[in-house]
Amino acid sequence: MDIVLALWYRNIKIFTRNRVQLSFTIIMPFFFLYVFSAIFKNDNILNPVNYMLAGIVITTVFQTSLSIATSTIEDIVSGFMKEVLVSPVKRIQIAAGQLLSAATIATLQGIIILFIGYFIGLKFTSIITPFAVIGVMIVVGLVFSGLGLYIAALVKNSQTFQIVIMAITMPLTFLCGAYIPLSLLPNVLQYIAYFNPMTYTTAFFRTIILEKTTLTTDQLIAEQLAFKIGNFVITPAISMFIVIVFGFVFLLLSTYVFSKVDFSRINRSKSKEGDIWS
């Protein structure tokens, strides 16, 4: 446990010292907000800005945790992590340290955006809400850092790695209702969106942060916080359940695959095959 904390703490320290990265991750979402908020204006959604902001916060958490977890492998291949690999530290402890720090950093970024959002008009009426919001962010951070670590451990070839990350991040972000409401998407894409764990994450998160837990099912559907598939309604509660299931699956897969990775086969640098350490 000691080791996990030591690894976790080291990652946090490094992140807080990288100011450029920090500024970018804060500025970008607000750019998107400005551009996309017009799309969300309709009769049913009272406050499109807050609505969008919620989506932005959670997608930031998702993207950050994914990218930090995937960079674990780069960390390992080049530098500091090598020393960890030859020590008796177990792979699962390394994985845990990475997952926890990815989730923590992602949550911190989410909180920073929320804080700025407060000045744009996002207000909480209940005292429980902020804690619930942070709690959800941590869970989401863990879920997607699990996914990131899993991908990182699976994809060994450097060329396909970048493409895979793009191919995963783009649809997950844009087909979840955060930037573009699902109702505006063509049918085929809507259908795909129902397979996207981020869709349920976004709906659930929005419900919590906008304090809409007391609405009726029909109102929830109108505000796109619940989904009707055929005759079955996926309420925010069910969304949460779906997200947690995804989370367990990702975490199990990632720690298992990570423990078994043969690092000699990972070729992320541009040097010749097998030349990874020389």
Binding site: E83, L85, V86, W277
Partner: protein
């Protein structure tokens, strides 16, 4: 005669990456307490071998044992008794020297009190006590390497793996680092396993394994390798070329005449000296060069170690 134990035993080790064979059926043993070197050009398979012994890579086939423990199936046991200094620095640049060393102690389960004592000793050994609180990023390349050596000792490993320990360092630093390594070995009786492409480093080692394209092409002490594969050379300068030539012909020496000097292969130095003393006036300068490990490599593979 003391029967020295073999602390590293490798048999029929093969490492393949898809179709590429990096290490092709390599076998060797390392005696406990010795300094053992893998010498060879880049791409020979040295780093792959050392990385497999360090438990980072998995083997394709064969058996590798360190102190009786299987490198593939008893990874944790092996990791506790080995120390590794990699080719490039693996220190955390954004932390202090002390923080890096403490982190290492965490990984190896060394208690806080023990850690303080051991860090003191290790830093003292490499003369970096004054830099304990300095940021790693402020150290030079040679100092970073010394910190890594200090760090690798904290858990009292039985075997220390050094992957090209002085590559990229200036000659003075290289000499110092070697002083530490030798001092270390004498004081702690640690077995040292290193890879290098510097001949002068390999010369200091107890045993050298010469590696080329995945195979060990020679394995012996530096002295015996040179004896077996090279000849000493004598370089003679003279003002009386004819005189020297007739003298050499008398002794049945074949020679090469180069601009400014003659070079002769010598088997028996006293015999040459006896011959030359017959007509000392013919010689203005004499130099005897012993064969180097590069000559050994050249002889065996037809190539230079450094291309």
């Amino acid at each position: 005669m003391v029967n020295l134990k073999n602390i590293i035993e490798v048999k029929d080790f093969v490492k393949k990456y898809n179709n590429f064979t990096a290490v092709d059926n390599v076998s060797f043993e390392v005696e406990e307490g010795s300094i053992f070197a893998f010498l060879g050009p880049n791409g020979a398979g040295k780093s792959t071998t050392i990385n497999t012994l360090c438990t980072i890579f998995d083997k394709t086939s064969g058996s590798l044992f360190i102190d009786g423990k299987d490198v593939t199936h008893e990874k944790d046991a092996v990791r506790n008794i080995i120390g590794v200094v990699f080719q490039e620095p693996t220190l955390d640049n954004k932390m202090t020297v002390n923080e890096n060393l403490i982190m290492h102690c965490h990984f190896y389960g060394i208690s806080k009190n023990e850690a303080t004592e051991r860090i003191q000793f290790a830093l003292n050994l490499v003369d970096l006590l004054d830099w304990k609180k300095a940021m790693v990023s402020s150290l030079s390349g040679g100092m970073k390497r010394r910190v890594e050596i200090a760090r690798s000792l904290l858990h009292y490993p039985k075997v220390l793996f050094l992957d090209e320990p002085t590559t990229g360092l200036d000659p003075q630093t290289r000499a110092h680092i070697w002083d530490y390594i030798v001092k270390l070995q004498k004081e702690k009786n640690i077995t040292i396993f290193l890879t290098t492409h510097y001949m002068d480093e390999a010369e200091i080692c107890g045993k050298v394994a010469i590696m080329d394209t995945g195979k060990i092409v020679a394995l012996d002490t530096p002295y015996r390798l040179k004896q077996q594969y090279t000849k000493d050379k004598a370089y003679i300068t003279t003002k009386d070329e004819q005189g020297l030539i007739s003298l050499l012909d008398k002794g049945n020496y074949s020679y090469k005449q180069k601009p400014g000097y003659f070079s002769i292969e010598v088997d028996d130095i006293p015999k040459l000296m006896e011959l030359l003393s017959e007509q000392k006036s013919v010689i203005t300068d004499l130099e005897i060069k012993k064969g180097t490990l590069n000559d050994v490599f050249l002889e065996i593979t037809g190539k230079d170690i450094r291309k």
